[in-house]
Symmetry: C2
Subunit: 340 residues, 2 copies
DNA sequence: CAATAATTGAGGTACGTAAATCATAAAATG
DNA sequence: CATTTTATGATTTACGTACCTCAATTATTG
């Protein structure tokens, strides 16, 4: 049987009340007594029964998630996963509030971050735009004792306690490997389409992609990245233009959203056997992969990301270190045949 | 606040004891009273607080896992994951016993299955050999009320309550897609290496692979599958022989274990730019991928499989339906650049 | 109708922890 | 040394559920 607080009290030769004071960092215990209790804890290998503790203290974790609005399928899916997590609230003792902000609007993000009350909120998750004002607002929250995690897109210079998302440099490198091999020696250009270089996930993908292409597939050059603000119509126009004016294009890497626009552009153009790699499984991209319009999709499981974010925030709210090694989000590579 | 048994008792107009009798299926309650209580439950949306319930009943789940022994890296890793889960036992209220059996020995597997006491064991997980005697032994256990799950390799004709592993037909198809694309039009033969066609995972991969290759890449033919019993030395010999006598080989798909032997054979042969796809990330296969000897690795995360198996067995032991949709194990595709 | 059986209520204890109160003991202060 | 402060002990209640006992009520049977 695993040891309980009673066992600790007995072996340390102190009362239950003192054990409780030590374990929960309450004042009024001499250092020598603290040491005695901690010795007993490590001797017996005591671990607090978190479920019993939560039961006793009626703990809840009020969390806030900030997600950009707009039609982006991936972000809507992310929001749906947060909502699903909110519905498990009663089981997980979380109280989740979702704040929607206009996309590509750092100022709005900052306003929401500043409206958060450190007294009543025990953790914040956000999809960040990598700008100085957002970084500052995040740092301010963290300094007030509110753990903040970034989702999908990181804020590398900030004090955020964790990033819940894929390694985007590796994702870009993977895309380059795939495109390079799918083209096998055929020289030409790769059109790179991005949403915004202000999003660190996009800029990281672009740099990883360019690095591998240059090093391993010198016969392929890069056109772009073309910025589209993740708008499908813009993607359609820019890709259409590029395909007409650049006959040497043999592959396309869309590292941002707006896959619908890419699919439309390719349909208009009459397929010229491009190698096409895109990001995120959505209804449209899934269909394109099944139809052979896309060759591969690089995906991040946003359900995993949300659940990981919640675990990390809860752990930090309790002053624990989350097992960071177990919270790594994998880069999924989907071909037509392993699409779930 | 979420409703408690007290709330149920109050709205149903019965005592706490009666609510308890209904919720836990204890006898001695009139049907009309049962209905009243159940009406209150669904009216208030009551969900039992599992943590409090487990605390009160001091529930433990004694589980048995049966894994083949031998040097197979993947299976050793699987065993390590089960051991890791066993170390979380006190938290998860499981008591896990690991039984090691000789590999490729159905009779030994049957003996262990028959030694299991349905009274004291609340669930069993095993890596199955797909033979009739094993199927029969599994069915006997299930009929005695012990839920059984298969890990890694399924037992399709049996009564096992769940299969914790990847879709191996899809895995084979994915391998074919990758090899087909990596060869882009270059005609030739693909050498297929397997452990044993008695393992349903291996035979399913082989059939998925052959199907896609025939349908989509008619310029590529199949040699094999060569059976090796997952022994690295045998793999080395058989691959070496094949490469010498079959100069038209352009790609290799090892759908079984023994990657070490494959790597050795390729090294001896002096690389002739084969497209090589193998299964499972192990220290050797990881190195081979990094070195460019392998082009892709198809992987299943055995940590996920073990955790999923435990969740399913616990749920079934409590008479609950596990959320099968959430227990699907993904097919990971790793290239050099997205290897974790 | 009485005897018996089936059903329900009332109340308690337990699980492991949190958190509070109040009394007592020890240490520090003047 | 008396007084104040600080530490500690002893005890209790609570969280939501399980499970037990015993008494009381209601149905069912002969």
């Amino acid at each position: 049987m695993r040891p309980t607080v009673h066992d600790i009290a007995a072996t340390a030769g102190v009362s239950l009340a003192t054990v409780d004071r030590v374990l929960n960092g309450r004042p009024g215990v001499r250092q020598t007594t603290v040491d005695k209790v901690e010795a007993a804890v490590s001797l017996l290998g005591y671990v607090r029964d978190v479920t019993a503790a939560n039961l006793a203290r009626k703990r809840v974790y009020p969390l806030v998630f900030i997600v950009p609005g707009g039609p982006n399928s991936f972000l809507r899916n992310l929001t749906a996963e947060i909502t699903a997590a909110a519905q498990r609230s009663s089981i997980e003792r979380t109280v989740i509030r979702i704040e929607t902000v206009p996309p590509f609007d750092p100022a709005a993000l900052v306003r929401v971050l500043e409206s958060i009350d450190p007294q009543t909120v025990s953790g914040v998750g956000l999809v960040a735009t990598d700008t100085d004002d957002v970084t500052a607002a995040v740092n301010r929250l963290v300094e007030q004792g509110v753990p903040v995690v970034t989702l999908v897109s990181d804020l590398p210079g900030s004090q955020r306690v964790h990033y819940c998302g894929i390694d985007n440099i590796a994702a870009g490198r993977t895309a380059a490997s795939l495109i390079g091999r799918f083209c096998t020696g055929r020289p030409g250009k790769v059109l790179v389409v991005a949403g915004s270089m202000k999003l660190s996930d996009h800029s990281e993908r672009a740099s990883g992609f360019a690095a591998v292409l240059e090093a391993e597939f010198p016969e392929l050059g890069v056109i772009g990245p073309v910025e589209t603000n993740d708008d499908a119509d813009t993607v359609r126009q820019r890709v259409g233009m590029a395909l007409e004016t650049g006959p040497e294009i043999v592959a396309i890497y869309n590292l941002g959203a707006g896959n619908r626009g890419l699919i439309d552009a390719l349909a208009q153009h009459g397929h010229r056997n491009f190698a096409v790699v895109a990001h995120e499984v959505t209804p449209h991209s899934r269909q394109a992969l099944a139809d052979g319009v896309f060759d591969a999709i690089i995906n991040q499981d946003c359900g995993h990301e949300v659940r990981s974010a919640i675990r990390v925030l809860k752990a930090r709210a309790d002053g624990l270190d989350p097992l960071t090694a177990q919270e790594r989000i994998r880069i999924d590579v989907f071909l037509r045949d392993n699409l779930p």
